[in-house]
């Protein structure tokens, strides 16, 4: 089963996902398949459930105590809500990059190695290897290699965000969730992150929430359009932006609302 799913290239198979914050339903019967080594953009107006959806994929949404979830999310064929699934392990396979850069108030070195260290990797040689690989993959190595012991908060916003990406890469995830990763950054830093996303999809599957339709158009292979908790349309990005099937999608991408 698992192998079969991998062969078809499906990472996530979302089936009938419902989610409530207390009495308010934030996601309504979401069904979609997310593919390997692709960039999937999730767009929609504020409050449409796009962030909630992405945070459900690594079960971060459950940190909010009033959340109730129905339906299934199969990750390589296994329902992530199963009792047998260890949420900590899921989150190492499915890394996350947040809206605002959130490095730990520690050195660059400690930031990258936080994940490997808490998961029991103690070998100093392995540490150095992970450090260099992750920072290089996040296109940050050249900028920080001479000041690995400096506090991460001495970096610029864009560098901090790339450090957070390196930190996520350090535990060798398969999927990287990005929740509006460039919304707090200037255009140049945004450009660097977008270039980075293009490189990363060689090795990772990326799911990115963005409020910028231009960004979705530039970087994604597939686009999902959410509105009021529903998945309105999900297709190839080129199709969504040139010839959307639904009127609501067209209204949104042509800027008639949102």
């Amino acid at each position: 089963m698992t192998n079969e799913m991998k062969d078809t290239g499906i990472v996530y198979d979302v089936k009938g996902l419902d989610l409530w914050y207390g009495q308010d339903q934030a996601l309504k019967n979401i069904n979609m398949q997310i593919y390997k080594n692709q960039v999937t953009a999730v767009i929609g107006p504020s409050g449409c459930g796009k962030s909630t959806f992405v945070k459900t994929l690594n079960r971060m949404v459950e940190n909010i105590p009033i959340v109730k979830i129905g339906g299934e999310i199969l990750y390589h064929g296994e329902n992530i809500f199963d009792k047998s699934v260890m949420v900590e392990e899921l989150r190492t396979k499915v890394g996350m990059v947040f809206q605002k850069p959130n490095p730990f108030p520690k050195s660059i070195y400690e930031n990258v190695l936080y994940g490997p260290k808490i998961h029991g990797i103690r070998d100093k040689k392995v540490h150095m290897e992970i450090l260099e690989t992750s920072l290089k993959a996040a296109a940050l190595w050249d900028e920080v290699k001479d000041r690995l012991d400096d506090n991460a908060y001495g970096l610029s916003g864009g560098q901090q965000q790339r450090l957070c990406i390196a930190r996520a890469l350090a535990v060798q995830p398969e999927v990287i969730l990005m929740d509006e990763p460039t919304s707090a950054l200037d255009p140049i830093a945004t450009q660097k992150i977008e270039d980075l996303i293009n490189q990363l999809k060689e090795d990772y599957s990326i799911i990115i929430v963005t409020h910028s339709m231009q960004q979705a158009g530039r970087i994604s292979d597939k686009t999902a359009f959410f509105l009021m908790g529903e998945l309105i349309e999900y297709d190839d990005t080129s199709k969504i932006f040139s010839n959307p099937a639904k009127k609501q999608t067209e209204d949104y991408i042509t800027g008639r609302f949102g």
Partner: protein, 308 residues
């Protein structure tokens, strides 16, 4: 223009009047209020210094910093302060051995694990602990804790430093817990989310991310707890007694600097004697202790601040 009343002029007059009266008066009243505490502090320091100088003129330094404390002896009274410092240090250490770990653990629980409802119930209850008059704690130490401890430690004196030390610790728990909790709560939630997103358990987030990020506030809460223990009077006066022997045995009575002052101000040290002036000297040293602790707390909060 539409109305007959000249509203604009009325507003103008009103503003001019207010500026003259209220705006000039208010800052002065505020200044006076601020001045009260400054003047009082200066007054206290001045009194302590003046009368301490008299004490140090009467008693040689070599005797002051000795372990010989016999201020009530009719002939050749001696005024070694070391037994009092010893008593203060021991009672404070015992108190912090309780308040530090318990307070910090409570803070971690309240800030990282407790649900909103539990926190909103527990925190006020804990803060009531801080509102109990210290005389009640003293009585509690003497008539409740000491008898229990006596069953565990047969050699325990009826007056001993252990029991009030422990009770002071309980009294200080809310200070440590509340300030540490504030410090941990002010660590941005986004940082904890980052750690959770890497597969940390809640406990790992608390201990490896939030705690280090809040360490300056936590250490500052410890230091404030220590100052509180150093200055605490009633509990040690009632339950630790007034032995002036220099000892490291916490099962026996020790006198702290504060309870020495209580004993002498309520006793009959004749005005103008060395015993009388010794009160001021002890008071001054006590003040220096707490001052040093408070400066230390400030230093720590700057030195160990993890920027975020």
């Amino acid at each position: 223009m539409g109305t007959q009343t000249d509203v604009r002029k009325m507003i103008h007059d009103n503003i001019v009047n207010n500026r003259n009266r209220v705006d000039k008066l208010v800052p002065r009243i505020l200044f006076l209020a601020a001045l009260v505490s400054v003047v009082t502090t200066l007054g206290i320091v001045a009194t302590l210094i003046f009368d301490s100088v008299k004490f140090f003129q009467m008693v040689p330094f070599s005797q002051v910093f000795s372990t010989e404390l016999a201020p009530l002896r009719a002939e050749n009274p001696t005024f070694g302060i070391l037994p009092l410092i010893n008593g203060t240090v021991f009672s404070s250490l015992i108190a912090m051995a309780v308040a530090g770990p318990v307070g910090l653990t409570a803070a971690i629980y309240l800030s990282q694990f407790a649900s909103e409802r539990v926190r909103n119930t527990l925190k006020p209850i804990m803060e009531i602990l801080a509102g109990i008059p210290t005389i009640v704690y003293g009585f509690f130490a003497y008539s409740f804790v000491t008898p229990i401890l006596m069953k565990l430690i047969p050699d325990l004196g009826a007056k001993n430093v252990l029991s009030p030390g422990l009770v002071m610790g309980v009294m200080i728990i809310p200070i440590v817990a509340s300030l540490s909790e504030d410090a941990m709560n002010s660590v941005p939630k986004t940082i904890s989310e980052g750690a959770l997103g890497l597969g940390s358990t809640k406990f790992e987030v608390a201990v490896k991310v939030v705690l280090p990020a809040a360490i300056s506030g936590i250490l500052a809460s410890f230091v404030l707890g220590i100052s509180r223990a150093i200055g605490e009077t009633m509990i040690v006066t009632i339950a630790s007694g007034s032995s002036k022997a220099f000892t490291y045995d916490i099962t026996q009575s020790m006198q702290t600097m504060t309870s020495y002052i209580v004993e002498f101000t309520s006793g009959d040290a004749g005005t103008g004697t060395a015993g009388y002036y010794s009160l001021y000297a002890v008071g001054l040293i006590l003040l220096l202790f707490t001052l040093v602790m408070n400066l230390f707390a400030q230093y720590i909060s700057h030195r160990f601040r993890e920027e975020y």
